[in-house]
Symmetry: C2
Subunit: 238 residues, 2 copies
């Protein structure tokens, strides 16, 4: 833990997860927490702000910070999370089959992206199965300008793990759209879909810390296996 408020955030989050601070009760007050952790109140407030945006607590002025119910975090698909991370956290054993790795240009029209030039990329197509049932077809277009080469072994493991831990890339933010579409016959076959069945397509553009565009992704989900869970706070900035 590099910074204090991150450490405090994790400590409080853990204590909430393990019901040391039970749902519906109040956390110690900010002043008390400041004493507990031997830090200033502002530092505590930064940790609490993080808990707030992640749905761990609700702050009520004049009263305190209430612990919220976390059962909704059973299947978190919100935020930017890779398939591998997701699976590990859910204790499911799954399989990833690499169908294709080759050089392609990004099909910009699919992503509603305006650009004069073609964007050279490594195209990685992978089929994700759980107990041999196809769940998701992932199509990644990783820009050559950022990552020149991707091996089969890396694709079979985890792209994100490779990018972040081996290459030291810092993935920062993404834009996502979710739509429902008719699959091509090829996709329908791969996902073992019946006739007339639509697919859920999650398309995202991922950016690095320095705002360089880095990757386009198309995740094609079986409709019956798709579940997106979100925690949202109402925007109200005075």
């Amino acid at each position: 833990m590099r910074n204090k408020f991150g450490a405090i955030y994790h400590d409080l989050a853990n204590k909430i997860i393990h019901h040391i601070y039970p749902v519906g009760t109040y956390l110690p007050s900010e002043t008390q927490l400041a004493e507990l952790y031997g830090t200033s109140r502002e530092t505590i407030r930064k940790a609490l702000a993080e808990l707030l945006t992640n749905g761990f607590i609700q702050k009520i002025r004049g009263k305190g910070s209430v612990v919220l119910n976390l059962q909704r975090f059973n299947f978190p698909v919100s935020g930017i999370t890779s398939y591998k991370e997701l699976n590990n956290s859910l204790h499911m054993h799954s399989k990833t089959e690499v169908l294709c790795i080759e050089d392609q240009h990004v099909p910009l029209e699919n992503f509603d992206y305006q650009s004069d030039q073609n964007l050279p990329a490594t195209f990685v197509e992978r089929l994700r199965t759980i107990d041999d049932n196809p769940i998701v077809l992932d199509r990644d277009y990783v820009l050559k300008s950022v990552v020149p080469n991707i091996s089969h072994a890396v694709a079979a493991d985890s792209l994100y793990n490779y990018f972040e831990n081996k290459l030291g890339l810092i993935i920062s933010y993404a834009t996502k759209t979710i739509t429902v579409e008719h699959p091509s016959k090829e996709v329908a076959r791969l996902l073992a879909l019946g006739d007339h069945q639509d697919v859920v397509v999650v398309r995202s553009q991922t950016y690095l810390e320095d705002t360089t565009l880095f990757e386009f992704t198309e995740s094609i989900h079986r409709p019956d296996k798709f579940n997106f869970v979100d925690f949202a706070r109402r925007q109200k900035i005075n």
Copy 2:
């Protein structure tokens, strides 16, 4: 504007939207902004943090705050937003037909919600159309314990507007799930769907500022009209 950093946030957001700070350029440094607005640096940093989470800027340590491209905000369905707000912001003229207002218990099994007791609610069913094309079927269950009565006129206008501006309720956060399901024949008819067409169901539970559960909502979308846009930052708390 009650607080300073809110005012500064709005000012900066407007200037970004109107390209006074163009995409790809740096904002003035935090120290400069502090002087410009006659405030302290911490206050500026709170405003910038808000711009960051809303995808207006990217902060780069040692360099500054870069203005990001905002074309993705053309159709924001992320966060908690009511249908009316959404429409106004998109300059579409639409129609809302109230199909039903009556007292019902919340069908808890639909929402994966455990409870011993029945929850008495006002059930409001509304069909949203644009140019006479059905888009969404909204089913709201507003808990009687919070709002005893809802008039037809209110339902035809905007529930959220009524709750927040007339009743003074402060809506704070929600949990949402998105799934794809087979519609009932009744729903298929209302949304003018063909055979074998699935629907996208967005189910949410909405809470007030004091964490009281307030409303269950089921939004049933035509698959071809559904589009969910999201901006997500990668979680990485040290």
